[in-house]
Each structure stands twice: as C-alpha cells, then as structure tokens.
Symmetry: C2
Subunit: 428 residues, 2 copies
C-alpha cells in the first residue's frame, strides 16, 4: 500500500507521522513544493521581531529525521501539477508520475496579492513562509526602514505590526473593514486599537488599499488575500465547499474514495454553528492531519470540528476569542445576548492585571455560543475554558457554577469568567 501526501508542513507531516504509527508497512511519500518541511509558520513574526534569532529554530523536523526515524520519504522542491485520480497517480511539475493507493491533500493556503497594484515591488512583503520572513529580516537589516504600512488587521497583520514596531519602525495598519482580528465586535476592536496606540501603532479602519504604489512608507506588509490552495484538488474532481476550501467528512475524506484532505486547504465543521467554516490555523491543521493520516492508514478517527478559538499577543497583552461575537452570532441565525465585564486576573492585594471577558449566549437555548478575553496574564487559559464550554454545549447557568481553580498567585476567588457569567445571567 502506498500513501502519498501532498504538502509537508503542519497537516501533511502530522498525517504522515500518524499513518506510520498505525501501519508499519505502509509506503509513505511526502511531496513538498518548498525547500523546507515541518515549520511553525506561527513563529515567523517572532523571527521578524528578532526574538527568534535563527529561522532554523522554527523547523521542528527535517526530511532526514522523517526518513531515518519514521521511514517516511520526503521530497522537497517537488511541486505537484495534477492529480490523476482514475489512475491513482499524482503528476509532478517535472512530469514524473507517482502512484498512490491513498492520497492526502495538505496543500495549505497562500497569500494571494495578485489583486494589489504594485505588490511585486521589493519593499512589499507577505509573511507566510520562512523565505518571506528571511527576506523581511534582510530588508530590515540592510535598508533600515523607518516606516511601515501593514495592510489588513488579521492575525498576520497585527503580529507583523507588533514585530516591526519592536524593531523601531513607525507602523500604520490599514483595515478595509470596521473590525480588527476578524472579530465583529466594536468594543473588542476599540480595545485592540487602544493597545496598539499605547505602543504608537496606528490602526486605520475602513480604508481599502487597492494599490501600494501611492503608500508613502519605507516598507509594506500585506496581510490580506489569504486563500486555500485548492486548484489541483478541484481539477481532479475533489469537491470544494461553500467556503472555497476542500470539503471532507468528519474522517477528513473527500468525495473521492481514498483521497483525504486536511489543513489550511480544508474547511471543517464549526461546532457552534454546525456549519462548515474556513479558519486556517496550525492547531486545526495538526489535529485534522493526524485524523486524515490515521484513516488513510485504515484507522477510524474522527475530527469533530472547531469552535474558532484564537489568541494573539499585542505588545504582551493577550487578545483571545472563541465562538461568535454578538454580531457574528446574529448573522449565524442565533438570538444572541452578550455581557462584558472587567475583572482582575488575581486578587487585588496580590497584584494581577485588568482582564476583560465577554460571554455571548443564545437567548432561546441559554447555550454559550461565544466569548472573548483580553488580559496581560491568564487570557490563554481563560479562553480555553470558554472553548471547552462551547465544545460541551454548556448553558450559562452551568458555566456560572464552574469549579475553577483559586489561589491568590493564580486567580481571584471570583474569576472574571464567573463574573461575566453572572452578568450574562442577568441579561438573559
């Protein structure tokens, strides 16, 4: 049995490793179009910042490791041009044909900047691959830019702005919509804006950048246009969902039998809305890749879906979200009610910091359907509690009585999560 995996970053390598663990005899080949595999793309901003000094630190495993330790063949610089599924073959750009019994598509996503005039200029960057980050780092070192424009206020835009500001640049973020970090929530966006301003980064919402030629900045980072890489899959007859990403069942199998997909090229189930969603993140890629690998090797794993958990550090403060904001929940057909409170991360006599928690519930079912946490410490842990509650379909009254850990060095006796739940109970 031959398993071919297209793509050697998060989903692809998780899939290959998991398949090997379940079947010691499988022939496993990973085809990666780029020069490196298995890197943590989420670490790129910290390399640009200078905190991570060597990009090789972001590479978790090398092809040699997989070859020797896992008996997984990895071919880098090997882009695939087509999948000929009726013949169970992938065709490389070189014309070489490789047979498979099972195929895993983990082609990821890309930053499509073709719609932006002037995006090919040497002072314009995306931040998606190690090569992107190294080019940016070299530009910072050699050209000593003093001003930067960041296009887009998603995760990459915000993290790039943080990294460049820490390099001493004056940074302005341009966001076409009204919200930051993809959260339709005016108060959340205002908190993002204030935190950026505190560190002298300007956030200009409602400004669409169609051309970078007129932008008078020493460098430009484009953090928009992220799209799933589905062309070769779609051409082979793999079904594409309404989100524009590959559709699979909960075993990560596509409409073609024996062909699986996982990672940033794939949509997954949103466990709150019960609809397919495309939120490309490394955690989802790794988990879904692992499931695809298990099933391609004859296992029976399930990937139920996600609740849209995310966190971003803006100059040390965590901005975390899960599920839906009130506005997003309304658009999804819920009758949402939200409550937002400010608490302290620890008892005041012990120190701690201000922590803002918003919880959103559905009025008719009283189920929690979203939340956000903003704080200097504990934001990651607190959003994860909300994520667990969303996955478990907890009601507000259940959440309000949760037995959360208390000790002055860690949390106050009334955790901000519980205070938010009490407030939400009053609104329901």
């Amino acid at each position: 049995m031959a398993l071919v995996v297209i793509g050697g970053v998060a989903a692809g390598m998780s899939a290959a490793a998991r398949a090997r663990r379940l079947d010691a005899n499988l022939d496993i080949l990973v085809l990666e179009k780029g020069p490196v595999i298995s890197y943590g793309a989420c670490g790129l901003p910290y390399f640009v910042e200078g905190r991570v000094t060597d990009a090789s630190q972001l590479i978790v495993y090398t092809p040699e490791y997989f070859r020797k330790e896992r008996r997984i063949e990895v071919r880098t610089n090997s882009p695939v041009s087509t999948i000929a599924h009726p013949r169970r073959e992938v065709v490389l750009q070189t014309g070489e044909r490789i047979r498979y019994d099972r195929l895993i598509i983990a082609t990821g996503a890309q930053c499509d900047i073709s719609g932006i005039v002037g995006a090919d200029a040497p002072h314009v960057f995306t931040l998606h691959t190690i090569a992107d980050a190294e080019r940016m780092r070299a530009f910072l070192r050699e050209r000593r830019p003093r001003t930067a424009a960041v296009v887009g206020s998603g995760y990459i835009g915000i993290e790039a702005a943080d990294a460049l500001r820490r390099n001493g640049l004056a940074v302005t973020i341009f966001e076409a919509g009204g919200h930051a970090l993809l959260r339709e929530d005016a108060a959340f966006t205002e908190a993002v804006r204030k935190q950026l301003e505190r560190h002298k980064v300007e956030l200009r919402t409602g400004v669409r950048i169609a051309s970078v030629e007129d932008l008078q900045y020493d460098m430009v980072v484009i953090g928009i246009g992220f799209k799933p890489n589905v062309t070769i899959a779609a051409e082979a007859g793999v079904e594409i969902g309404r989100t524009g990403a590959i559709r699979t069942d909960d075993r990560m199998e596509t409409n073609l039998r024996g062909v699986y997909a996982a990672g940033d090229c794939t949509e997954v189930q949103h466990l709150v809305s019960r609809r397919p969603t495309w939120i490309p993140l490394g955690t989802t890629a790794n988990k879904a890749g692992r499931v695809a690998g298990a099933n391609a090797a004859g296992g029976r794993d399930r990937f139920p879906g996600i609740v849209g958990t995310s966190i971003v550090s803006i100059f040390g403060t965590g901005f975390a979200t899960a599920g839906f904001s009130v506005a997003q929940a309304r658009a999804e057909g819920f009758s949402p009610v939200g409550a937002r409170i400010e608490g302290n991360s620890k008892p005041r006599y012990y120190g701690g910091s201000k922590t803002t928690v918003e919880l959103v519930a559905d009025r008719s079912t009283r189920r929690l359907i979203g939340g956000s946490v903003i704080g200097d410490d504990g934001a990651g842990g607190r959003i994860n509690v909300i994520a667990a509650a969303l996955q478990a379909e907890m009601k507000v009254e259940e959440f309000e009585q949760m037995d959360l850990a208390y000790s002055p060095p860690f949390a106050p006796v009334w955790d901000p999560l519980l205070i938010a739940a009490q407030q939400l109970m009053k609104e329901l």
Copy 2:
C-alpha cells in the same frame, strides 16, 4: 421577613449580598463571632510571607459598607450558642434571642488542635484567621525564629512552609500520610517533594506528630485537624452527612425547612463521583453562599457541586489538581487509567517551561475523571480546562480534539493537555 445569617466570612456575606439583591425589603442580619468579616483567608500565607504588608488588605468589605451600601446589618463579636428552630430563634452567647423567618448557617470550619499535646505553647500556630496570621507575623518580627516545623502537607501546611522559608527559616514539613496536598499520587507527591527540596524545605512523609513538645524547632505551624463547625447546627436537628459536614439539597437547604447552609461547614456534591464530599475552599463557599442567599430570598438557584479543583503555588510553580488520581478513583469504584506526560508550556523557540499533565479516565465509560497539572506558567488555565471537561463529563476522545488557543507567546501548537489526552487514548 427576617433573614439571619450565622457567619460573616465568604459564604455568609455572599449569601447576605445575594439575598438583598433579590429582595429589597428583607430584613437581613449577619452574626459573626469574630472581630472582622468578609476576609480572604486564602491570602493569609501571603501576609505571613510579607508580600501583603497590611492584613487589612485582605478584608474585602467592612460591616459599615454592608450597612450603608446594602442595608445589611452586621454584628461582629457575636457568637451564637444555639438555634431554637421550633421558635425560629437564634440565641447568642449573651443570652439575647433573635427571631428569623429564614436562617443561613455559614459557621465555617476550624483547626481543631485539641488532640495535639503542647499545641497551646506560644511558639505553636494555626493559620486560619487574621488574628492567627498577625500573631505569627509578630512572632517572626520579635523572636526571629530560625527553624520551623510544619505539621501537615495540605494546602495550609505547604503555603505556610513556602511563606516561612521566604522569611529565611529552615523549614521541615511532617506529613502523617504518604502523600502531599491530599493527592493520593506518588508521582505528584514526588514532584512536590522535589520542588520543596529545590528551595531547601524538607518534606517528611509517614511521620505522625501527636505532641509538639519534643519538636526541637523555634516555631511550629499546625496545618491539620481542619473540621467543619457543625455543633450548633447538629444540636438544632440539622442533618449532618457522612463527611461530618452539614447535608443540604442542591438548593443549599438543610433538612429543616427555611434553614440553609453553605461554606466550609457544608458538604457538597462531587460531580465526578456523584457522592457528597467535604472540600472546604473559598470558591465553593462563595458560590454555594450565593445560591443559599438567593433561595432564602425566594429565588430558585441551584448549586450542582464541585469537581475538586485546586491549585497551590510552591515557590512559584503551580501544583494543580481536579477530580481524582488513579488511586482515589479506584477507591471511588472506578476502573481508572492514567497517563502522565511532560510537555512545554510554549514552543521551545519562544521559551516557556516544563509542564507535567496527568489525565485519568474511567476505562468502561472512557470519561475523564481527573487530572493534575504542574508548571511555572499556565497551570491555572490548564487545570481549569480539565475542570470544565470533568463538569461536562467529556470523554477522552472529545478532550483530545479540543480547540485550544495557540500562539507562541501563550502555548505550543500541541498543548500539553492534548499530548496527555493522546497518551491516555493509547492506554485505554
């Protein structure tokens, strides 16, 4: 309608405040035997340590605050001697009789050291009230002790040892049983021992101290003998559960109609074992007190129970537990399987620290029934995720797929919680 609350610390004041919020016309009287109300007993070790410089910082609200802002009458230094329920009266030690329509018993717990020979010596301490802590602080200042024995390795013993060591004393902890922090788990206890030893505190397990007269230490802190204060309740006919604490229903009502109980004097439901348990903690006292107050004021609140979540800082490292260890789960009638892993709190290229996670599941139902987390950062957030999963009765396969937040400043792409779940899946 008159509501009388016996006890003015966590449960009592939460109950009184909540009752007022639901019924603006209720006459509310709180009777507190001691000189202060509404203090954070969990903060006492940090006052002994010297981090909290003034004990008054631990007092959240004063009687004056409650009188003026909430119209709640508070009488301090007013111990109750009996409850004459047939006449709906409480009798103070002064002989004064006070009528009630509804009664809330929040008499707390005490450190009963009567069984220890020599415990009344001036160099012997408990750490339960502000007066205890002030006496200890004065002793440290005036007598400059150089060695301390701590009897008991529960929360109070461990926190007192940490606080005294930070004052420069040589500290030895004596524990009669084989385990630390009430967790029947050899590996967990070894981790506690190692962390204590790293900071030059000795933990001697299996040593029962019946007399402190022969202990050659400059001071002795007794952290054992904690018991619920149930005498006046029991004498009035209030049912006492098998744990030795007051038994209530999930509305916190006792067997006597109109008489509620909450806080350290009360047992609550353990949501994993579905049996009554007595784990006296401030969080439970506040939550159950709030429910008792609501129901005494005519509301219909429920306190479902706890999952036994706790966290203690030992020289800056969090030692957190929830639910049952393998040994405890076996004693509760489960067929437990555990998996323990060591992960990193963040991606290695970003820093972070070693984090140990143990998860315990029941083999027949595959339900998570316990866990522990040890780590320098994120231990509080991680144990809360386990607590949420226990409350939601999550299975290991559900927990393994949880959508936890990922970003290098906060967590690695495979959170230690998920790695532990993957390991547990292999064992099941």
